[in-house]
């Protein structure tokens, strides 16, 4: 199971990577694998305010639809437009080209409340 070090993880299988003080958000390899072939990613517009723990978008596979939950509060400053045409990037490269939104965080310190790679790995491997 691919769980990169240095990222933070939510209970709902989103990851956050801090880059230049901003938070980049995606879903984990485990979540992508569980969803199967991803066919549609519904993302917010730039400027949308995210509220930690509330849905900010949705991801759909052939089989099912599932909400995306904001790992932290803040404002969307960029959206991965490639996912409109190529939602399958979430399956092939969940931590790279499959990223979803970049967020100007209200409080970067709040990320420490999320799981680190070790804790997340223990949890999904027990699932």
């Amino acid at each position: 199971m691919d769980v990169p070090e240095g990222l933070r993880y939510t209970e709902d299988h989103e990851w956050v990577r801090t880059e230049a003080g901003e938070g980049v958000v995606g879903i984990t390899a485990y979540a992508a694998e569980e969803l199967g072939d991803i066919v549609f990613v519904d993302l917010p517009k730039v400027g949308t305010k995210l509220q930690a723990g509330t849905p900010f978008g949705a991801i759909e596979s052939v089989k099912t639809a599932s909400d995306l939950y904001a790992p932290m509060s803040g404002e969307v400053v960029a959206v991965n437009a490639s996912l409109t045409e190529k939602p399958e990037l979430v399956n092939s490269d969940p931590y790279g080209e499959g990223w979803m939104v970049r967020v100007r965080m209200d409080d970067a310190g709040a990320l420490t409340a999320l799981e680190d790679a070790v804790a997340y790995r223990v949890r999904v491997e027990a699932a």
């Binding site: 199967g36 066919v39 519904d42």
Partner: protein, 366 residues
């Protein structure tokens, strides 16, 4: 407790993602739903359907007993032919949809859905009681393997003594297939040509291996329930629990043709279904194509444009791997069921326009 088919170990060895379905542990997918879906449309797929029920109804009045138990008229079937049918409640609701195969003058094989197999077996036992007929539920002694797709015939033909060229669509015959005694039927649930093999429970692993080995060079792939669902949805076929339930009549599901009001004698549900027919359906099953971004899913509300209150509900929906657009089936009131009607599906926080289109979404080229 969940049951396992005789092929459970094969699925695990092939790396399948297993899920619970109808009380059984079944493969959802092996390589991926889209990959398997395309394999069936373009080449062939191999399915373990051993979770489905198999119930024999035999006896000198077996046909008449089934005509009383079901909405169709099985005595009209020629020997070696099959038809799609339904078992209804006395109130006209659908207990299950099923296939009836006539394999002899007094021998019928009934194949219900996995989740309803026990209810169908119970109902049939009770309903044939007044006739010279008996039921035998062999669900746990019978494996069912399907091979579906344009290359299915060519893969199966060298492995069976059954002449597949003369075995017509919705026909069944007894023979040998992939080394085992089998009932070979030209039926399926994918919208493609294909065959279903009813074999002894324990014969399944060997039959599966032989078919897979013979078909692999032609691109035969194991196919899970995920692709089975997207394939049947494209083909406009109903799934019990989604389109069909005890609160729905066959007419509402668009299956008026199944109910043989003209058959002699009474049948369970006749009075209620005649009344429903005369009153006209309350709702109608339609096909929808989404006309903006968004995928309709089971349970999403359907609205008339701009209306606050929903007028109907989505029963199944996905992004069609073959057509590349989001398709769905839904119940809507009669006035909204005309082809070309625009409705709105509530997808999370937005309303997505959708158009009523004819079913099926996909039809194979002849």
């Amino acid at each position: 407790m969940t049951l396992r088919t005789a092929l459970y170990d094969r699925h695990v060895a092939l790396g399948a993602k297993m899920v619970e379905f109808g009380g059984w542990e079944m493969p959802l997918q092996y390589t991926g739903i889209i990959d398997e879906h395309r394999a069936v449309r373009e080449r062939a797929g191999l399915f373990d359907l051993s979770h489905m029920g198999e119930i024999w109804v035999t006896g000198t009045a077996a046909g008449e007993a089934l005509a009383y138990a079901l909405v169709t008229d099985p005595p009209r079937l020629a020997i070696g032919r099959a038809h799609y049918s339904m078992l209804c409640t006395p109130e006209g609701g659908i207990i299950d949809d099923l296939i009836v195969y006539r394999v002899g003058e007094h021998r019928f094989l009934v194949v219900p859905n996995a989740g309803n197999a026990a209810a169908v077996a119970d109902a049939l036992r009770a309903r044939v009681a007044g006739f010279e007929a008996a039921t035998d539920d062999v669900s746990l002694r019978t494996s069912l393997i399907a091979i579906q797709g344009p290359l299915a015939r060519g893969i199966l033909a060298p492995l069976t003594d059954v002449d597949l060229d003369t075995l017509r669509y919705y026909a069944i015959t007894e023979g040998e297939a992939a080394g085992a005694p089998a009932f070979v039927a030209r039926t399926g649930y994918t919208g493609e040509d294909g065959f279903e093999l009813f074999i002894d429970w324990d014969a399944a692993p060997d039959v599966w291996d032989r078919l897979l080995a013979a078909g692999a060079p032609a691109g035969l792939q194991p196919t899970g329930l995920g692709a089975r669902d997207s394939l049947r949805l494209e083909a406009g076929m109903a799934l019990y629990g989604n389109e069909l339930d005890r609160d729905t009549t066959p007419m509402e599901a668009g299956l008026d043709r199944l109910v043989r009001f003209d058959k002699p004698g009474d049948f369970v549900g006749r009075a209620a279904l005649e009344k429903a027919r005369d009153a006209g359906p309350r709702k109608r099953l339609v096909g929808l194509v989404m006309r903006d971004r968004g995928i309709a899913r089971h349970g999403y509300p359907v609205h008339l444009p701009g209306a606050a209150a929903p007028c109907g509900v989505v029963t199944s929906g996905t992004l069609s791997p073959t057509l590349g657009e989001a398709i769905a089936m839904a119940y809507v009131p009669m006035p909204a069921s005309a082809i070309g009607t625009m409705v709105e599906v509530a997808v999370r926080t937005s309303r997505v326009p959708a158009e009523v289109v004819p079913l099926p979404f996909y039809k194979r080229s002849p």
